[in-house]
Point group: C2
Chain length 401, copies 2
Amino acid sequence: MPENFELLAADLHSKARRGRLSTAHGVIETPAFIPVGTQGSVKGVSPRELRELDAQIILGNTYHLFVRPGLDVIKHFGGLHKFVNWDGPILTDSGGYQIFSLAKLRKITENGVEFQNHVDGARAFISPEIAMEIQRALGSDIVMALDECVPYPCEYDYAAQSAEMTTRWAKRCKQWTKENAERSTSNAQRPTSETDSINSQLSTLNQLLFGIVQGATFENLRKASAQQIVELDFDGYAIGGVSVGEPEEEMMRAVESAEPFLPGDKPRYAMGLGTPPQLLEMIGRGMDMFDCVLPTRLARNGTAFAAAGTLNLKNAEFILDKNPIEENCACPACREFSRGYIRHLIKAEEILGLRLITLHNLHFYLNLMNGVRTEIERGTFDQFRKAFVAEYKTRDAVTVE
Amino acid sequence: MPENFELLAADLHSKARRGRLSTAHGVIETPAFIPVGTQGSVKGVSPRELRELDAQIILGNTYHLFVRPGLDVIKHFGGLHKFVNWDGPILTDSGGYQIFSLAKLRKITENGVEFQNHVDGARAFISPEIAMEIQRALGSDIVMALDECVPYPCEYDYAAQSAEMTTRWAKRCKQWTKENAERSTSNAQRPTSETDSINSQLSTLNQLLFGIVQGATFENLRKASAQQIVELDFDGYAIGGVSVGEPEEEMMRAVESAEPFLPGDKPRYAMGLGTPPQLLEMIGRGMDMFDCVLPTRLARNGTAFAAAGTLNLKNAEFILDKNPIEENCACPACREFSRGYIRHLIKAEEILGLRLITLHNLHFYLNLMNGVRTEIERGTFDQFRKAFVAEYKTRDAVTVE
C-alpha cells in the first residue's frame, strides 16, 4: 500500500516541512490551512467560492452535524460530501472538543461521554467507537480519534489521568477502525441501484485516522501522550488541547514538547489555531495542518487580515478609503471593492459586507500557506517567517474559539 | 433627441407591452423586475451574482443612502455606481416612501418634509428640489420625483389634498431638472484629471425623471393625478401608493384607474410590488416595471418562490428532500443544492441558506419577466398569465414592505 503522506522538502533552518497528503477525495499540499465548516457550511461562503479560493480541504464538526441535521439525514444524502456539495477532502473532528465546550450536563466515564446537546437539550452518548461510527457515516476523508480536551488552566493530576484516558480511547478508535475495515469493503461491493451510495461507501474505504496528543501545558505529559499515541500507529497526529486560552508561549511549548516524538513521515495537525504569525511559528516547529475559525469569525465583526496586521473596517478612518482591503491582493473582495464600501456594508449590517471580508480573510490564510510552501521549497522559509512576524501587528484583540 | 423608450410589441388580448428603455448605463428590456438594493446592496447577493442572474437594473433607496453612508461619502466615491461596483442602470426612489414609513417626527409642509432619521435620530429636511439634488449626486439613471405616499386606509379629503401637493412637488422636480440640466453639462465639460469624475458626470447628463401618480384608492383621484402628472411631461410614469396594505382588488383598481391616462409611448412603473401573480396582472394592465423586496426578504425567512407557489423550506417535509428548490430551474442554488441541505442551512441559521434562496428567488422573478417578454412577443401572454395565476398558490402569508 502506498504511503498517504509524502515529504517533499524540509527546511534547514527550522522544522518546517513541505509535504503532500493523499486522501480519497484529493491531494492536500502541506502546510495547509483548513477552512472550518462547522455546521456543513464554511460560514458565509459557498463551495464554489471555496474552490475559487483554492481551498484544498474543509472541516466539518461532528458534534454540530450529529446534533443537527443528524446522522440519518446525512446518511440519506449519501454522506457529508454530497450533502454539502463539496467533492474535495473533508476532515471531521471527533466531536470531543464541542462536547467539552458547548454541551451541557457532561458526564465523562471511561466508556465515553454522556451529554445534553446545546440546541434542543436532547441527551446523547458518544464513545470512541461511536465517534468512529459517526465519522464513517459522514464519510470524511480524515477522521479524528475521540479525545478529552481539558480546559486551561488544568491541574496536573487531572491532565495526566485525562491524557491516559485519551490514549485508551485512541486505542479503541484504532481497534474499531481495524474491525470495521472489512465491513466497509463488503458494503462497497454490495449490489445497489444507487450510484450515490456506492461512491459514498468507496470513499469511506480510504478514511485516514489521526490520533490526538493531549497533556495540557505539562511537558512530560505532552511527551508521554505523544509516545503513547504514536505507539498506536495512526495515519497522522494532531496536537489537541492547544489554543484553549493559554498564553501563546504555553501553546508553543506544548507543541515543542510533543513534536520530537512524532514520526517524521506522518502529517502533523495543530488543532484549532491560530493567528497568521502563530501558524508560521507552528510551521517552524514542524506542524503541517491547521484549522481555525478566526478568518470567518472575525470577518463577521468587520475585522480583516493583512500582512501588516488586522484592520477593523468599522473604524471611521476607512469611511472615504478607496483602496481595497489590501493592496495587490487577488481575492474577490479586493479585486472589486473599496474599504469605504465594505465599511458601509458592515455598519449597515449588510450580509455582503461580511461575505467580502470572509472571502478576503480565507484568501489571506490560504494564500499565506501557499506562499509558505514556496518558501520552504526555496529554503527561505525561516527568513520569511521572521520578516512576516516582525511586520504583523495585531491591532485588535483576537480570540480563537 | 432619440426617444428613451421604444415599444416593440403590444398584446392583443390585454394591455401588456413589450418595450425597451435606454438609460445612461444600458438598456432595460421591459417588462422588467428591479431587484431592491436598499442600502447600496441587494441583500445577500454580490454585483457579480446579479450580473450572472441577468439583472438589468437595480434600485437604491435614496432615504437609506442619504442617512447612511451619506451623500458626501457617495459623492467622494464618484456616485452610487462606483460606490457599489454596479455599472448597469440604477433607479433611485425619491426617499418619500421611507420618510413616511420609517422616519420619526415627520412634519410635512408645502415646502417639503422635515424628519428625524431612524438610525441616529438626526434631523433632516427634504424638498422636491433637494430630492433631485440628492439623486443627481447619486448619479442614478432613473430618478423619481418626490411624492407623498399616503397610508391605507386614507380619508378622501386627505388623499385629494396630498395628491395635489404631489403634483405641485412633481412640477418643482421637473423645474429643478430643467434649470440644472445646463449646470450638469458644463460640469461634464469642465477639464478634470479624474476619469472617475468625468464618467460620473457624463452619466448624470442622461438621468431620466419619472413622475409619480398618487390618489390612494379613489378612482377619480387616481385619474386626476395621472392627468396632472402626465401634463408635466416626464420620461416615465410610476403608480405610487399601491401595495401599502390595501386589498389586492383595490391595488388593481388603483392601477386601472390611472393607466388609461398615461401616454402609451412612455414606460410605466408600478412601485413596490408584488407577488408573481400580481406582477402578471399588472403587466396585463399595462405596467412595464416593478420593484419588490419580496424575493430577498422572504428568502431570509426560508421561503422560496416556485411556479406552483411559495414553499417554506423550514418545513419538516423537506428534511430528506434531494430535489432542488424547483425542478429544471437554472439558478445557481437549484443547479447545485438540495432542498434538504438548504433547509438544514436555514434551520442552523447559516448565511449560505438565505444566500441560496435569495439567488433562487431573484432568478425566479427575473426569469419570469424574461418569459413574459417572450410570451408578449409571441402574442401568447394572456394565456400564459391565466395559466400561471391558476397554477400558483400562496402557501404562506406574504406581505410586501
